[in-house]
């Protein structure tokens, strides 16, 4: 069955506009980048691109992000790491905790490779204090290392551990962007759903529940954790979040992004009911802002 039809059939009712949803899934994504403020500034980049005649469109909810054409890939700014190409929704985890990062001392990016969020964290923290960028997949660490060096991210240490076996530690901020069924990135990668199945969703969810509980155990009291996925499946999103809320002292917090259209988390799906606080989580459907799909929740440890 066509992946678009699978997604429309499964999630159409959740989106409140299944026709727009399925249309958006078939359209290519715009190229987008974030200005790397460790090496440059929004003003300098805008000035340069104006000189080149390359058009930039600002992103309302992230002042350092722009959409543009492929030409930007051939710019000196890209070559020197002054701009970092990443999909718009991957900006959300760091955007959600900018205020918290001002005072954060020890940050964990638990599934870090290839480094979009790590490098964003590094820039937001002005290349100071410490970020632990962990990934269990050693092959993907090469890309992470490359991106850290290219962006000048000095305040990062790399670890290669299975998160479930991560040594006892205490972080004041954790970003947990978990491996998932990746339904939300169909626009970016047509092959994203080649291995899709309900069994795969269930397997992902089982692992994600273990990961979120382990990551939460590494958070210090009063610390903040972001849980995010690029999939639509409530089994991997609200169900996992609900597991955390039911079993620990975690409390969800509202997240607001200026100018970003979104939907609330769902507290019921098929025959399952979830902790009502999952409604504070944010769902991004592709047709809402012309992006990939995304799910993000912010929790604190009480």
């Amino acid at each position: 069955m066509n992946p678009v039809n699978i997604l429309k059939e499964r999630y159409g009712d959740l989106t409140n506009d299944s026709s727009e949803f399925s249309t958006s899934l078939q359209q290519p994504l715009k190229k987008s980048f974030r200005v790397n403020t460790s090496k440059s500034s929004v003003e300098k980049v805008k000035e340069s691109f104006d000189k080149y005649g390359i058009e930039l469109q600002g992103v309302k909810w992230c002042s350092e992000a722009f959409t543009t054409s492929r030409d930007a890939l051939a710019s000196i700014e890209h070559a020197l790491g002054h701009i970092y190409f990443q999909e718009l929704t991957s900006l959300l985890p760091v955007a959600a905790i900018k205020d918290v990062l001002e005072n954060a001392q020890n940050v964990l990016d638990a599934c870090a490779a290839p480094g979009s969020k790590t490098t964003h964290l590094s820039a937001e923290m002005k290349n100071r204090r410490c970020i632990v960028a962990n990934d269990a997949d050693r092959q993907r660490l090469r890309a992470l290392r490359f991106n850290l060096e290219k962006t000048g991210s000095l305040n990062v240490v790399i670890s290669n551990k299975d998160l479930l076996r991560f040594p006892d530690s205490s972080f004041d901020v954790i970003i947990l962007d978990v491996p998932c069924s990746a339904e939300g990135i169909l626009r970016k990668n047509a092959g994203a759903m080649e291995r899709w199945s309900l069994q795969r969703i269930a397997a992902c969810a089982a692992l994600q529940k273990k990961l979120i509980l382990k990551a939460f155990s590494l958070l210090e009291n009063g610390g903040t954790m972001i849980y995010s996925t690029c999939t639509f499946a409530p089994e991997e999103n609200e169900s996992v979040l609900s597991e955390l809320l039911e079993k620990t002292s975690a409390k969800t917090e509202n997240i607001e992004f200026d100018g970003l259209k979104s939907s609330k988390g769902v507290d019921e799906w098929l025959k399952a009911s979830y902790n009502s606080d999952v409604k504070k989580a944010v769902r991004i459907w592709p047709h809402q802002n012309d992006t990939s799909g995304f799910f993000i929740a912010k929790v604190v440890k009480c």
């Binding site: 710019s75 000196i76 020197l80 632990v132 290392r145 000048g152 990062v156 670890s159």
Partner: protein
């Protein structure tokens, strides 16, 4: 195995950076120097336990018979340099980013002495090179060489 860089080696490195480029050590206040295999020096966060980590920050130099600073160091800290800063024309900057070594005019190189230089195009630090008279050997690693159409 990573370790905090020995004080003597750190002093030598900082002295070289100051003497060659007039970059003051204050620039590195928020970071720590670490030593790795084969004389590699990394710059990374301060106050970390090293047992659990695969790598720290990234490589900025190699110590040996001569001190070599990486192109990543040049790109990140080059704008602090007050000496041995070599400015290229637009055409040469594009060729440099493509990985070519360059033959320059006397007038372009007379402000620098032979040896390691930082390479610039207008306000952009592109990397590093080895200058011998008017000949600039490109020290950009292959992975960073790329075709530039907009500069």
């Amino acid at each position: 195995m990573l370790a905090v860089l020995h004080e003597k080696q750190k002093s030598e490195l900082l002295e070289f950076i100051k003497e060659r480029f007039e970059i003051n050590e204050n620039v590195f206040t928020d970071h720590e120097f670490y030593s790795g295999h084969k004389g590699k020096v990394f710059l990374g966060p301060t106050n970390i336990g090293l047992d659990n980590y695969l790598s720290v920050g990234f490589e900025i130099a190699r110590l040996g018979r001569k001190i070599k600073l990486s192109s990543s160091f040049a790109q990140l800290f080059g704008l602090h340099a007050k000496k041995n800063a070599l400015y290229l024309t637009k055409e040469n900057a594009i060729n440099y980013m493509n990985g070519y070594s360059l033959i320059l005019e006397n007038s372009e190189t007379e402000s620098c002495s032979n040896g390691l230089v930082f390479v610039f195009y207008q306000g952009l630090a592109l990397g590093s090179g080895l200058l011998v008279d008017t000949s600039l050997k490109n020290m950009l690693p292959k992975a960073k060489r790329t075709e530039i159409r907009f500069i």
